[in-house]
């Protein structure tokens, strides 16, 4: 089924929208989740949560590109699961507990600011990415947005692994310079 029709099903509150989404995008979303979580059970949980989140968010949202819209949800949910698990792993140590307490205390006062800061940073990264060559941009997105391995990125960008590594190295350095210039980072 075409994406427009699936979105139409969501907008009409037709539950078959989830089934259609699952049959078309399950493998795509699972790959995004697995790249972050490296665990089958957690990845399935993340993908299932994505369907629910999509159901809850369309409407009011009406995504232009359904795949990237769903991919963003899966990525965010998977990162949240990853961080939650990491926090749980650290719970045994008193150092980790004290660190967590301090993080929670800071988070209470700075969350809206941080969210705004991250959004502004995201817009800056967006602008930066548009200055890159298509190859450099695709490799960077593949590695740091989709979190694919360098080998996979090199394969689907049709270049050698060493060239992909070189492009990533250069792009990271350029990003650092750009963020310093834009005032997001301080020069060391």
């Amino acid at each position: 089924m075409q994406d427009e029709k699936i979105v139409e099903l969501y907008l009409q509150r037709d539950e078959s929208a989830i089934k259609e989404t699952q049959s078309k995008y399950n493998a795509y979303l699972y790959k995004i989740a697995y790249n972050i979580l490296n665990n089958r059970e957690d990845s399935n949980e993340s993908v299932n949560d994505t369907y629910l989140a999509a159901w809850d968010s369309i409407p009011p949202h009406k995504p232009n590109i359904l795949s990237t819209y769903l991919g963003k949800i899966t990525r965010r949910i998977s990162i949240d699961i990853f961080r939650r698990h990491n926090r749980q792993k650290r719970q045994g140590s008193e150092y980790a507990i004290s660190l967590q307490e301090l993080e929670d205390c800071l988070a209470d006062t700075s969350t809206p600011e941080s969210e705004l800061e991250i959004k502004v940073l995201g817009e800056a990264i967006n602008t930066f990415l548009r200055t890159l060559s298509p190859d450099a941009r695709n490799v960077f997105i593949g590695r740091y947005y989709y979190l694919d391995s360098v080998r996979d990125v090199a394969k689907y960008c049709k270049m050698s692994e060493s060239k992909a590594k070189t492009l990533l190295f250069r792009t990271r350095n350029s990003l650092k310079e750009y963020l310093i210039k834009e005032g997001f980072l301080h020069e060391q």
Binding site: I65, G122, R130
Partner: protein, 206 residues
């Protein structure tokens, strides 16, 4: 700012940018253009058949280039190329009368150089660490930082000519970059170096 913030911020990347990568991820082997491969293979087969037919149809075999025939017969050794004309490759008909460069691979490059005093060495699989001073049309000029027992000395200027796979472009490098390179072959007492592998990290050298 930490790396987590950057990863979080990437959520705000525009969808058209993500979609262009999505397309690549969905077709990692380029299936969309598979038909082009079939056409290329078919064209090669047609040329091969036409070539074979015309060869067998001709009353006498075409005359072979004398020099090529001598190579095939084993009358010219590799050492002849070191003082003579430039050749891209040598086809061995037999092993007699030929020598391999010490430590060389099948990708040997020979050149008579620009002066009569040319010295030719082959030092395969030796990593050299250099700083790029100038980008040239086919490589770059650089100063040696670490010679790693190659016989070169520190700060010696060298001309590096890249002759490796096309996927690595010299435009990927800039003046001031410090890179490792695999030291395939050199002449003019080491001042000109051919390399097929350049990388920012020595472990990435092929």
């Amino acid at each position: 700012m930490n790396s987590e913030k950057i990863l979080d911020a990437m959520e705000f990347i525009d969808e058209d940018i993500l979609e262009s990568v999505d397309v690549l991820r969905k077709h990692p082997d380029g299936h969309r253009f598979l038909w082009l491969n079939y056409i290329a293979v078919a064209a090669c087969l047609v040329f091969a058949v036409i070539g074979a037919v015309s060869l067998f149809d001709s009353p006498t075999a075409p005359e072979t280039n004398n020099e090529s025939q001598e190579i095939i017969d084993g009358n010219i050794g590799v050492e002849d190329f070191m003082t003579g004309d430039m050749h891209d490759s040598v086809t061995d008909g037999s092993n007699e009368g030929k020598e391999e460069f010490a430590g060389s691979t099948t990708d040997n490059y020979t050149d008579s150089g620009t002066s009569g005093n040319t010295t030719t060495n082959t030092l395969a699989s030796v990593a050299l660490y250099v700083e790029i001073t100038e980008i040239t049309s086919d490589g770059f000029n650089a100063n040696v930082i670490e010679s790693n027992g190659t016989g070169l000395y520190d700060n010696q200027p060298v001309t590096v000519i890249y002759n490796g796979p096309q996927e690595l472009e010299i435009s990927d490098f800039n003046v001031g970059d410090k890179v490792y390179l695999k030291y395939n072959f050199n002449y003019n007492n080491g001042s000109i170096i051919y390399t097929s592998s350049i990388a920012f990290n020595s472990e990435d050298l092929k």
